[in-house]
Amino acid sequence: MIDGVLGGPVDQDYLLQARQMQAMSFAVHIPLVCFGIAFPAMVLYLEGLWLRTGDPLYKALAKRWSKAMLILFAVGVVTGTILSFEMGLLWPEFMATFGDVFGLAFLIEGFSFFMEAIFIAIYVYGWDRLAPKVHFAAGVPMVVAGITGSLMVISVNGWMNHPSGFAIRNDEVVDVRPLEALFNSNLWHELVHMYLAGFIVASFLVAGVYAHGWLRGRRSRQHRVALVVALSVAALATPAQLLVGDWAARTVAERQPLKLAAFEGLQETTKGAPFSLPGGIEIPDLLSLLAFHDPDATVQGLETVPADDRPPTGIVKLSFRLMVGIGTALAALGAWFLWVWWRRRRLPSSPWFHRALIAAGPLALVALIAGWVTTEVGRQPWVVYEVMRTEQAVTGASGIPVGFAALALVYAGLVAVVFVMLRRLGRQPFEVEA
């Protein structure tokens, strides 16, 4: 426990609003980031197909997707900027006390944002202006930056969940080892899990758009190619996500036992802890099995710590179930596609498959946000796990509700306008160069 270098906790009547404002800002940014992670790779893959086969359809599709990519990137940039400001505007004590421990990650991140901004601009505005090989080569750093762009932010989140690389003496942060903080032990599962989530969200949303067209009779080769590319990504990423999710759960069990207890709302320490499903069904031993790969393992209960130190259980429990349920359903959908593709070399023709695809995109989004709620709310009441409480981190400035309302209005407008513009982009005639 530590008080903080700005003078310790302050009175803040609107802590809850500050948390909700932070959550809202993430809920807008993170879906956009999924496209920043996945779209560059998908677009470049299509361009590669074009270069190899000379088929202009691939190029036309890559070009079209890259336009959407540019819009989403720009909105990702500005919403990310809000997050950067909010770190200080909402949580100054947290930043003042620990900025030097984890800040390095954000610097590296900053360079990766530079590279992404530079090469996305060259790539998208350079279509037909640069030699095809140069153009393709400019896409490579764009893809790499899309990956590294999330690496370091997640390192910070991993650090908040499993702080390392410093010591506390006399209420002061000392002995800082920035590299150790950077490569904390929560980084790896969070990174891979989020990275796959990015591909899942982006690919199912794209597939859903084309599935919608399919149901309305738009079944040209362009639609087939788009669907196959998007579905291949989705079908590979979803089953892998189940395995990584299992890894995440085991890490949580080991390092944040109370978070694990909150997944189930488990009050008392239990040997062979059950996992309950909606509708009052309880599967014995499942939680122990999931968390420790041992049906008899003991799971620590919430009551082992004072009420003040327990995370809110209701929302964490619900979010965890949403994520796992949706993840399983999406994996089934991916398997359906793979099965038909493998046996018949074509897309499933059932309208139900396409209807399910339309639902899959938004559901993947729900799983994404639910996952973050699981991680972040499950960490409460700590902002830095077992070191600093969220209420200690918060700003002493007034006006949080006003800021929250203003940002909510601006974001509502932004989301609406982006949605309209993307729809319009989708309606533009599809032109394949002769």
Partner: protein
């Protein structure tokens, strides 16, 4: 030594942002004042063409400044963001409005839509530099004490110095933008736009110069220590360089030497930033917190400086390539594929 190097890194980022990001905001100012939809169309098209490929990269300099500040000087960062929450939040909202509107403008289908997005873009282009400038002015004026929202939330950034620095940020941005756009118009072979931006560059240059002098006078009564710093030693040298470069820019614009004027205009603005930093030495947050006292531990600073050096080695060639392509007009701004 380490602390000073980190402070210099912030200064480099800030200068890049004030010049490059500032020019993007200034371009928005000329968009705002370009007149009716029809009359202003050529100016607006030029603004769009010049900005579209580079604004996101230019914007990252702001992120860079923020992250270096919170990593190397966390205590200063927490104090600044909590006391100056209002101007910083307004600026952040302005950035969202501006970036969103700019990115989406290309997809507008009707004149009414384009107008609404254009208005959001242009208005925010003035708000953001003003409020960021006012925040800087508050720091310079010694209105930000160490602590969690320890300063006055309103009065800290509404003093004379803040207001003048805010206006100066708007004016210098507009000036640099006009100079850049004039040079771009010449390369694009648009003589009528060259004339338009030359007139704007001259006008805004005079306004920026007057504001800079007014600022100096305001500081003299408002923050005597800063004034002393600006009128002696290295501070005075910076002020002199800025003044000389500013006058040179006006002369170059007059004689239509637009490419060289890009560099003198950038120097004039950069020297103001440097002058401010030099003048408030050794303080980060005058009148109490020194750069040394605000600095993070040594291992963090070393890691930061090494990472920054490595990062710059990758960034600078990439950025150079982008600007080369953009300035030579090889990045298409038309939304449609070419025939």
């Amino acid at each position: 030594m380490l602390a000073d190097s980190a402070a210099v890194l912030i200064l480099v980022g800030l200068t890049a942002y004030v010049v490059l990001g500032g020019a993007d905001f200034g371009a928005g100012f000329w968009d705002l004042t370009a007149g009716s939809a029809e009359r202003g169309a050529p100016v607006r098209a030029m603004v769009k063409r010049a900005m579209a490929p580079v604004w996101e990269a230019n914007h990252v300099w702001l992120i860079f400044v923020l992250v270096v500040l919170w990593t190397a000087f966390p205590k200063a960062f927490g104090s600044i963001t909590s006391t100056l929450a209002i101007p910083l939040f307004v600026a952040a909202l302005g950035i969202v409005l501006r970036g969103g509107a700019f990115a989406l403008k290309g997809e507008a289908a009707t004149i009414a839509e384009a107008r609404a997005l254009g208005a959001a873009f242009a208005l925010a282009s003035v708000l953001v530099p003003f409020f960021l400038g006012a925040a800087v002015g508050a720091i310079a004026a010694g209105e930000v004490p160490v602590g969690n929202a320890a300063g006055d939330e309103l009065r800290s950034w509404t003093g004379t110095t803040s207001i003048v620095v805010g206006l100066l940020a708007v004016a210098t941005g507009a000036h640099v933008a006009a100079v850049f756009l004039g040079a771009d118009s010449r390369r694009a072979g648009r003589p009528e736009l060259v004339r338009a931006f030359r007139a704007r560059a001259l006008g805004s240059g005079v306004v920026a110069g007057v504001l800079a002098i007014a600022g100096l006078l305001a500081v003299r009564s408002d923050v005597p220590d800063l004034y002393d710093g600006l009128t002696s030693g290295a501070g005075l040298a910076c002020v002199a360089v800025s003044g000389a470069a500013g006058l040179a820019t006006l002369a170059l614009e007059w004689r239509e030497r637009f490419e060289v004027a890009r560099y003198t205009a950038a120097t004039a603005v950069g020297a103001i930033v440097a002058g401010w930093a030099v003048a408030q030495q050794p303080y980060m947050l005058p009148p109490e917190l020194t750069v040394r006292a605000a600095a993070a531990n040594d291992s963090t600073l070393v890691a930061l400086l090494v990472s920054a050096a490595l990062g710059m080695a990758i960034l600078i060639p990439a950025l150079t390539w982008l600007f080369r392509l953009a300035v030579s007009g090889r990045l298409a701004y038309e939304e449609q594929p070419r025939p």
